[in-house]
Symmetry: C2
Subunit: 308 residues, 2 copies
């Protein structure tokens, strides 16, 4: 059985746009619940401006609070950093792994971080260099890799060029991200085929959103293309609960079920993972769960009824 | 651009388990709305016992009522028939295409039609023979082709044997059906690879349910395997609205969007198809729609707001 490696991004990508504030201790509880389910990597927080993303204002406390869990369980926990200053805040509290984000279009970088593409690229390279110099593990996101909300379909050549540049700059993992959930599986397969010509497959990860209901199909296309590293978010947390049509990330439970049925191991126990969904629902005060959740809940109830 | 051929099964597989009775004239309106959207084939009704499936009690009226639409638009309309008696009822009102169903496990045939596998096979063969002798087009469903709710994982050899038997008996199209929505894309690819060794790909169709949220992923796996004929149900109608975890069929809108984005033509206009979803919601009195529906509705609203 082949293994796939899942990074749960709910504590960062999932929570960052939620209107309900989740306390630091509840974030740490959620991360522990994910570790209990067998998740081996979590994107824990983001050292961005607390004014821009109030939900991430406790980034330092979250990273500091994870130290015991990391050493106890070997859990990988990463923190997103927007620049060198964010990196310094992360290293000051003992972060061991960081992630940088570059968007593959000019407009998305301008809207997101007020830099053009060349400036954003230099910023990410400098941050990666500094992180490697400090001995940190690193991930680099290539955002809007398939489609940009401002520029439409993304140029694959730009994605390939940026991925190569991030690798040279020291990124240990290159995460190809469908930030707005616009890709279809044929497009996923096509881009990954091209990327695999210049980036080793075991350095590539994919990050899908489920906006159009094609998250699981895209994950399957990536599996077929040989990718074995996936981002996902427990309960499908993510997106904006107030924006119609803006669904969350590909749900971890959907990815795990698909992977197991396709003959891959994940190390994750689906029944225990449901406890992390329950916990997230309590924290956010609304129903959560991926596309498979009604079926998973039903199976759970039947098992309870049968006493098995 | 390659074309895929979609049979919308909402009027039969979608409606048969709905608690709300839909009138004959509303069924005909729905089928016309599907034709207006560009759907070229519809599974219109079923000549089963009205006691067992009250929603299909008007099968004769539906088929008779479709004659004008068929000749006007060239729409293919099929009727499910359980046996020779059902076939006779269908031909009496001018049906041009019928479908038979055989389940790939003993227990499912016993529970469904009170026949063992050999008896069910003989029944289907006889019905197909008689239908072909009357000049009708024919489809044969192999139900529970991946998993049976009573026997678990289905033996692929049985599916291959039954598919070959139905072909020899005169089936024009063999529909491999994931009746309970249990398959994952890797399993879909594996079975279709084996089937393609003995059945021409252009005779194979697939029929998915979306119970575990893997309908779109399974459709992509079938596309990759070379299958070009798909069942789907507008709005994802199907399953039982009262059974938790029993989701409906793969939604036509989900399949169409996936196919278009992967570079296939379907002949179906998604905006017009949404009118058929609206109509179905009015008839059934509850919200419907596939996994892509929030995004499609949002796009529709933005277009209206922009006056485009």
């Amino acid at each position: 059985m082949e293994h796939i490696f899942i990074t749960d991004v709910a504590p960062r990508d999932g929570l960052q746009s939620q209107a309900v504030t989740v306390s630091t201790s509840n974030k740490l509880r959620l991360i522990r619940a994910l570790a209990d389910a067998g998740v081996r990597s979590v994107e824990a927080t983001s050292f961005v401006s607390p004014k821009a993303v109030p939900q991430m204002a406790d980034a330092a406390e979250v990273i500091a609070g994870l130290r015991f869990l990391e050493s106890e369980t070997g859990l990988r926990t990463s923190a997103l950093v927007p620049n060198i200053k964010g990196l310094e805040r992360a290293t000051a509290v003992g972060a061991r792994e960081i992630a940088v984000v570059i968007s593959a279009t000019k407009t998305m970088n301008l809207k997101n971080i007020n830099m053009n593409l060349a400036e954003a690229e230099e910023n990410c390279k400098a941050t990666l260099h500094a992180a490697r110099a400090s001995g940190l593990a690193t991930r680099a996101y290539i955002a809007v890799a398939w489609e940009c909300p401002f520029e439409g379909v993304t140029d694959p050549d730009t994605v390939v060029r940026l991925a190569a540049a991030m690798r040279v700059a020291g990124a240990g993992e290159i995460v190809i991200a469908d930030t707005i959930g616009a890709a279809a599986p044929g497009q996923v397969a096509a881009l990954l085929r091209v990327l695999a010509q210049s980036i080793p497959l075991d350095m590539l990860a994919v990050h899908f959103h489920d906006t159009r209901g094609m998250g699981a199909a895209n994950a399957y296309a990536a599996l077929e293309a040989g990718v074995r590293r996936f981002d996902a978010s427990v309960g499908g947390i993510g997106g904006c609960p107030f924006a119609p049509g803006a669904a969350g990330n590909l749900a971890t439970e959907d990815l795990v079920m698909l992977a197991h049925q396709c003959g891959f191991t994940t190390g994750i126990n689906l029944d225990v993972l449901l406890l992390a969904v329950d916990m997230s629902e309590a924290f956010l005060g609304r129903p959560l769960g991926g596309r498979s959740m009604p079926w998973l809940r039903n199976r759970q109830q039947q098992r309870v009824a049968q006493g098995s």
